[in-house]
Symmetry: C2
């Protein structure tokens, strides 16, 4: 795909659940493309993916494939990013990496455009996209943090299976159907593909996402802890997370308790959130209105509701935050970073 105006973009890992959504976002957002390369493993090379009514042939992701590219959006797994993002960066490409490979590297900005777009300027060829569960939480907390300061966050998540990829979506569907038909339930993917033990996700809640670490938290939980501090540039914020997979296809929900440094006004909290970019307030108990995963699905925004003051700590606020984990939690945040790079004139001329 070639155009006179716009930017030379590559999508790495276009056949995955997130890669697909990245292509969709580039299309929907009418991202100014001079050219689009779709890269994947040698196995997928030669296949095609649809884009704006055309079939784009997948090329093998090699270092040379990045010649002439200006922005590369990576979502092909950590090992691919580890191997190829530095090669692309060497060639002057700005890589927006959706894996966890570089998120905690000190010289790699970790960016949610509504929160810390200024961090992008410090990139050294790689900008990291945060974990899905982190993005929606910090996006919703940012306007409140700016006003009141944050002392601590305690979050329990209700995460969709799509966060674990296309195979996990299929597993939820297969298990659900097996249970309804009275057939045997096969457990092959969740909670963690690479670990030996599998648990049923259909009609269940699994308190494990990613591997366990020494401190008893899972890697997913520690991602929320570390990434939140990095995005907010504040190591003093206390963060604790419990990450749970539930039988939902798309849309992560989060029960968040936040303690502010200063006194807050609940009506003002609502106004701050209503005026914040990318945030939609759905908070009307009388109408039974609050964010729901099914309704947030396929939307770009982060939805916030169930706003209420803690009963004991006047600086404590409870909230319910929902967003599409494949969009704001992944593909849309990545494309949004690309849009912001353009807006801020940070793209290297190719």
């Amino acid at each position: 795909m070639e155009n006179n105006k716009g930017y030379h973009v590559a999508v790495v890992g276009a056949t995955g659940a997130v890669g697909e959504q990245i292509l969709k976002m580039l299309e929907v957002r009418q991202f100014p493309l001079a050219s689009l390369k779709v890269l994947a493993s040698a196995r997928s090379a030669g296949k095609t993916v649809p884009f704006k009514g055309q079939d784009i042939v997948i090329e093998e992701a090699t270092p040379e494939a990045f010649d002439g590219v200006q922005i590369a959006l990576f979502s092909a797994g950590g090992s691919v990013s580890k191997a190829l993002a530095p090669e692309a960066a060497k060639r002057g490409v700005i890589c927006v990496d959706n894996t966890s490979a570089y998120r905690m590297e000190p010289n790699v900005p970790l960016v949610v455009p509504e929160v810390n777009p200024e961090a992008m300027a410090e990139h050294n060829g790689i900008i990291a996209n945060p974990n899905c569960s982190t993005i929606q939480m910090v996006a919703a907390l940012q306007p409140l943090r700016e006003k009141y300061g944050i002392e601590r966050i305690i979050v329990s998540t209700y995460q969709a299976v799509s966060g674990a990829g296309a195979k996990a979506i299929q597993e939820l569907k297969d298990q659900t159907e097996a249970i309804i038909r009275g057939n045997e339930v096969k457990k092959e993917v969740l909670p963690v593909g690479s670990l030996p033990k599998k648990h049923q996700i259909a009609f269940n809640a699994i308190p494990q996402i990613d591997v366990f670490l020494e401190n008893g938290f899972t890697n997913e939980e520690m991602k929320m802890v570390r990434e939140t501090k990095k995005i907010f540039s504040d190591e003093t914020i206390a963060v604790a997370a419990t990450c749970v997979r539930i039988p939902v296809v798309k849309g992560h929900s989060e029960s968040v308790y936040v303690e502010f440094k200063n006194d807050y006004d609940l009506a003002e909290v609502r106004t701050l959130l209503e005026n914040a970019p990318g945030i939609v307030v759905q908070d009307n108990p009388e109408e039974q209105e609050y964010p729901l995963a099914t309704e947030a699905s396929d939307k770009l925004e982060t939805f916030v509701g169930r706003l209420r003051r803690d009963l004991d700590n006047p600086r404590g606020l409870h909230m319910w935050i929902v967003s599409d984990n494949l969009l704001k939690g992944a593909a849309w945040n990545a494309v949004q970073i690309a849009e912001e790079l353009v807006k801020r004139n940070l793209i290297t001329e190719s």
Copy 2:
């Protein structure tokens, strides 16, 4: 049903989801029955329910039906308990009430046998069974509270649809099947039967259980707050809850953060829980072992795992608590109270 030894027992509301389980518990636990009366509304009178291989004819629940009864287990809804429990009590019956009708009455003990069995002695004919989500939480916290004292609790729940009755179970099944078959999804029961708006529960998470109150919390959330304080006889404990319905049939899961008054030792926490009555510790991250709703289903115990110290507050502990909401959360706790009444010689001779 008549026997020479044992007690004269009535079960009120035996055709509901909990009532069925109460009969099952009386049978499984071989509760010493001199006679068993099964009472329900006039509509169900004349029908039969199975018990120990026999068919027991349902009688209409009238004040006179309680003559000669020693223990009555109520689970026919708040209005039935309001109308009939005082009538039964007048006749010398000890009523174990599974509804919320009397829970917060100052002269009614609210009892979880592992926590405050001594409160039963103060009964005035009525003993209240706490809310399902409260029971499993206080049962698991009790051995830790005794040792370290509790400053505050923040809980987010993952509650099964069976807590909303048989119609909600059917709704989850019907909606799930409709989605899998690509049919239209009907929403008729959840989140709250008596309220106008309905939300899809299949493949979703609904942050509303029971009606909303003035303070922005739901009634279910405030039950957890108020009942916890009453059961622990401690109004100073700070409690906050977010109660969420998820597409699980049986078994409530809870992400609980607790802050102790005193320093604690994590190994000792595990030992205290292992030695506590009714508690099973499932906490082995290396083996991916933690409590799961599917595995807790049909069990009497409360399962505890994901034990880990908060990263910032050394007196903070995170845990994951799961139990069968129809058993320990309702029927088993009620029958356990009846067993305890026998053990403590609190039954009036009939």
